[in-house]
Structures are given as structure tokens and as C-alpha cells.
Symmetry: C2
Subunit: 183 residues, 2 copies
DNA sequence: ACAGCCATGTAACTCGTTACATGATTAC
DNA sequence: GTAATCATGTAACGAGTTACATGGCTGT
């Protein structure tokens, strides 16, 4: 019964590792989505809500998470916590499966390839617009990095955030240089 | 009938723009796949052969490419060339549709986030391995860049290749720094 | 009261992949 | 002759999205 999970599935399971087990055990699907928006989004993908619930269901079937129904006023919410089996599976995955090379889908680069079909001004506008978006992203990630501080339990997520920040900086630099070359 | 095409579809159409119209008109699906492996692969994705043929079929239905059957010894191969309508559609797409922000799927960063579940040596090995892969990639892309030279018709693809090379260099630098910090 | 957030799910669909099938041509 | 490459397609499947549907809770 390997019945391997997708990388996204392991990624979500991984987010549950950093759950600081509050009074109730675990996180809701909604909370997990928020965490994904704050972390996974920057170097993987933040799955749609519907997929979060689907994956949690799947992880539950594998016994990698434990669900508890919590009475919350009039409604009942489900909270999910990673199990020991889940932690084992995650460690096994990290240790035995090969790391794929990163996959980049870069619409700006793609369009730049076709720069000869655009006017000079259009190319410049596209790159400027990209620089703006890049700055927005960087701000978002910097805010997340701030939250992590230097707490030891999130030392690795902090490393990843630093990586992301350095990447955004380098990307902005490259695009600015490119912009000048094209003029 | 807008019946918008996917970005991948436009990307393939874009590759046909650089077809230096030889004796026969256009490229075979097989040749297009090779070109995608040399270009698209680095900043988008190189579709599977089966998808190439599917997309060419679709582009043909839209009138964006023209197919010609060519007798090639005992077999008949189909060659595809971009049409004027195709060039128009591509320009329209470049001018009117918004550019999405790049999407990065980075398994190494994802795994690094879970570094606390791995041994120090395992993390280091993972990063070293990534640096090797990165160097391989860079070599491949540098070879492609070489081919482009300074020909004016491929000025923009060359810009994109330069962008990629700078990205790989920056990424290697960041990972090396990270490696030291983790030790 | 009304908006905005919290919370959970199902159904239909798209995009793209792998597996399967087939066969000609070319280089050793 | 036989392996690698050229060449073309179909079928089944998987991963993930958007649209749809529902309803409670919270702040103003």
C-alpha cells in the first residue's frame, strides 16, 4: 500500500507539522488554506479551497492526519492534526524520493521572446508592470518573514523565506538591466 | 468566436514565428517539440509530444497555422506554418491579455521548509545535488544561447536566454550562501 | 440589517501527462 | 540487422481549477 501521494499532498501535510497544537487538536481546512497562502504560495502553489478539503480527506484515509469534530456554537467544524504515521510518511518521502528540478512558468519571459511582435513601448510597459508586481510580492513575503522572526521551530521556513526574498531582489535587478538593454 | 487558446497554445504558435521558412512550408510536430525542448523548457514547459499534436490540430482549426502534407519517401509528414491570421492573433494576445505573475514550483524550497525533519547531512546533500542539477541546466541553456549568437531576428529569444542564465547564476549563489548558513 | 469573513463541500471541466500503438528512415 | 531517431496519433488518467451551493459568525 504505498499508493503514493502527490507533492501537493505532502506539502499540505508538511504545513500541519508547524501547527502549535492549541486547545483543540489541529487546524481547519480554512486555516490551512490561509497558511498555504502565506507560505506555499511563494514557492509551490496555494491549492484552491476545494482541493484542500479533498487532500485532507485523502490524508485522513491514509491515517496521516486525525480529524476531530469540534462543536463551535451552532456549527460543527473539523480540525485536522498530523499523526505519528503522518510524520513518518513525511520523513520517508523526504529521505527516499528524488527532488525534481524546479519548474518555472514565466509568462513575462514567454512574451519577451515575442518582443519583435510588440512595440518598443509595449515591451517596456510590460517589464515596468512586472517590476511593480514583483515589488508587491516582495512586500508580502517580507511581512511573512517578519512574522517568523528568529524562533527556532520555524528556522527552516525562515530560510525558505530568505531564499524567496533574495530571488525577488535578483529578479528585479535582472529585469532592470534588461529594460535598459532593450532601450 | 474568441474561444481563447491556452497560454501553451500561444507559446507553440510563437515558436512557429521563428521558422525560417525552408523549401517546405513549416515545421513538423516533431521538430516543434525539439524547439520547445530548447527554448520553452527553460521558462515555461515543454509539452509532451501528444500535446504538441493536439495543439497543432487546434491551431489549425482556428486557422492560425496552415498544414501541408509533404511526400517524404514512403511516408507523408505534415508541416505546419503560421498564417497571417495566426500572427494577428498572437499580436492581439500580446497586446490585450494581462500577464500573469510567474508561477514557481520549487521542490527544493519545499523540502527545505521541512528541514527540521531531516538530518543536517541530508539537507546539505540535497542542496549540493541541486547545485549540480543547476550547473547542468545552465550548461544546456548556455549552449542554446551560443546558437542564437547576435542575429537580429532572434534578438528577443537571446534576451530571454540571458535572463535565464542570470537567474541560474543568482540561484546558485543563493543556495551556496544558504548552505553555509545551515552548517 | 448588511457586509465580510469563517467554514465546508460537490460537480463539471481543463490542461497536461503517461501508456499504448504503429511504422519509416538513418547510421553503424 | 539492429538500434536510434523521425514521425504521428489515440485512450485513459490525474491534478487542479472554477462554478455552484450552503449556512453560521462577527463587527458596524
Amino acid at each position: 500500500m504505498p499508493s503514493s501521494l502527490s507533492t501537493t499532498s505532502y506539502a499540505l501535510l508538511g504545513l500541519l507539522v508547524f501547527d502549535q497544537e492549541t486547545t483543540d487538536g489541529g487546524m481547519t481546512g480554512y486555516e490551512l488554506k490561509q497558511r498555504a497562502d502565506n507560505t506555499l504560495r511563494f514557492y509551490w502553489a496555494s491549492p484552491a479551497m476545494s482541493q484542500i478539503y479533498t487532500e485532507l480527506e485523502r490524508l485522513d484515509r491514509h491515517g496521516y492526519v486525525a480529524a476531530t469534530e469540534v462543536e463551535d456554537g451552532k456549527r460543527t467544524t473539523r480540525r485536522f492534526a498530523i499523526t505519528d504515521a503522518g510524520r513518518d510518511a513525511l520523513g520517508e518521502w523526504l529521505r527516499t524520493s528524488a527532488s525534481e528540478f524546479p519548474q518555472l512558468k514565466h509568462p513575462i519571459a514567454l512574451r519577451l521572446m515575442l518582443g519583435s511582435l510588440m512595440g518598443r513601448g509595449e515591451v517596456r510597459a510590460m517589464l515596468d508592470d512586472y517590476l511593480d508586481q514583483l515589488a508587491d510580492r516582495r512586500r508580502d513575503l517580507a511581512a511573512v518573514r517578519e512574522l517568523l522572526g528568529d524562533r527556532n521551530d520555524v528556522r527552516f521556513p525562515a530560510h525558505v523565506a530568505d531564499w524567496g526574498l533574495a530571488y525577488y531582489d535578483s529578479e528585479a535587478e535582472i529585469v532592470e538591466r534588461l529594460r535598459k538593454e532593450i532601450d
